[in-house]
């Protein structure tokens, strides 16, 4: 990655809703980090005290399922944001996250950003406006995956039978 954190935040479309001044404030809470392939960023249930803007690489969100190990529920690629559990109490991660490949990101100090949001509602609103489209997009994608669009009629019947049996 080239350029200062402030410059990279300013250039990134994710924070387009923020003013220059707000982006500069946010940059004070950001730093560049790298994760090796396979490195775990956080576990489900852990304290959600960070979030990341993925600049290069990829992250897998996972959940430990008894008897099946860590099941990947979604992967995130460069250009997107990782982590919004810090926005609301209890500020605990709902999933785990692991780097799929060598990954570079801007890491933000979430409690500090939250304090800025509380102290400056305009800043907080701009931050929320940045996150809301991503949250909505992922919710819609999850709903569509729930429809199991690629299933055959017999696979759908099997699924319905399993649901009826439980």
């Amino acid at each position: 990655m080239t350029g200062t954190v402030a410059a990279r935040i300013s250039a990134h479309p994710f924070f387009a809703a923020l003013t220059d001044e707000q982006r500069a404030a946010l940059a004070e809470d950001g730093k560049t980090v790298t994760f090796a392939a396979g490195e775990r960023l956080f576990d489900e249930g852990g304290s959600a005290d960070k979030f990341w803007l993925i600049e290069d690489g990829g992250i897998a969100l996972d959940m430990r399922v008894p008897g099946r190990g860590d099941q990947i529920v979604e992967t995130l690629t460069s250009g997107t944001v990782l982590g919004w559990s810090w926005l609301h109490p209890p500020c605990r991660w709902h999933f785990g996250a692991v780097a799929r490949v060598s990954t570079t990101a801007i890491e933000f100090d979430a409690p500090s950003v939250r304090r800025r949001c509380d102290a400056d509602p305009a800043f907080g609103y701009a931050v929320l406006r940045s996150f809301t489209p991503v949250i909505t997009e992922r919710l819609q994608a999850t709903r569509l995956r729930l429809l199991d669009l690629y299933a055959t009629p017999s696979q759908i019947r099997q699924h319905e039978t399993r649901q009826a049996d439980t």
């Binding site: 190990g69 992967t75 250009g79 819609q140 994608a141 569509l144 995956r145 199991d148 669009l149 690629y150």
Partner: protein, 289 residues
């Protein structure tokens, strides 16, 4: 809708309602429920197919279904001497067709409908987005572009599938990658051996770094998948008339006689299956037509 193939069956060439019988030359199992049949050596020949067009395939004594061509085939003399179809066993007819063995006979009527008109994308980037079995009708787009590679810009193939085991043409995807096709695959449900992306196919669009002003998109998959993908591409800036979708409706006669496949003003067997999104968008949102 502009620039789409207009090759349609003439009523006299040969009778669209009368099948020609093709021999199954080979049968390849692509996934647990999907096979690719190569058909050849018939007594009589149907006209050559364009990518995106479909045939009505008959399993003798069982029934008939519309299936798009999945290969370029061999079209000597303007006739289809060799055809490839990829089928998924979902009902009685497709189960019978999937079970056909080399040497067996299959009835073929066609070609029917509009094609992808790959040539109209000359000089532009091709953005090919497939959902599930939708990769089969799009395979000829990739093969056509690779056969005349210098004619096109980037070739970007984004494929979504249910599970890793449902991915079609896995070996071929690697060959396409080596030939310069930018291939990205995502699955709805990963297994322990899967190291690729997990999520909806639309999540592959942003990382692909497309050039919307110079792209033509070809989309095939379930209706909802096509709609959300086309909307995402349109939001990125690809004009709706440069986004093409392949509609699937209840095709019966194939020659726009019976009306079973009517979708508003379209008879999909004639005016589709490939339709520009500028025309299809409104129709795909109507609950009942």
């Amino acid at each position: 809708m502009t620039g789409l193939d207009t090759a349609r069956p003439a009523l006299t060439d040969p009778a669209p309602a009368v099948p020609c019988f093709y021999l199954v030359a080979s049968r390849r199992e692509d996934t647990g429920d999907t096979v690719t049949l190569e058909l050849t050596e018939p007594g009589s020949l149907v006209p050559a197919f364009a990518p995106g067009q479909f045939a009505m395939l008959t399993a003798l004594g069982v029934g008939e279904v519309p299936i798009s061509v999945s290969g370029l085939g061999d079209s000597g003399g303007g006739r289809a001497r060799r055809l490839q179809h990829t089928l998924r066993a979902v009902g009685a007819v497709t189960r019978a067709l999937c079970a056909a063995q080399p040497g067996g006979l299959i009835g073929v009527r066609g070609p029917f409908g509009t094609g992808w008109d790959v040539a109209s994308a000359t000089g532009r980037d091709l953005v090919i987005v497939a959902g599930g079995i939708g990769l089969a009708p799009l395979r000829p787009v990739v093969l056509t572009a690779l056969a005349d590679r210098s004619r096109y810009g980037r070739i970007v193939l984004l494929a979504g599938t249910r599970t890793p085991g449902d991915l079609l043409y896995a070996d071929e995807l690697d060959r396409w990658r080596r030939a310069g096709v930018e291939v990205a695959v995502t699955v709805d449900q990963a297994d322990s051996g899967w190291s690729g992306e997990v999520g909806l196919v639309t999540a592959l669009i942003k990382p692909a770094g497309l050039a919307p002003g110079n792209s033509v998109a070809f989309i095939c998959g379930p209706d909802i998948m096509m709609r959300v993908t086309a909307d995402a591409l349109a939001a990125l800036g690809i004009p709706a008339d440069r986004i093409r979708v392949s509609l699937e409706r209840n095709m019966r006669c194939g020659a726009a006689w019976c009306g079973h496949c009517q979708l508003g003003p379209l008879l999909v067997c004639r005016d589709g299956p490939v339709v520009g999104y500028d025309r299809a968008a409104g129709l795909m949102r109507v609950r009942e037509l």
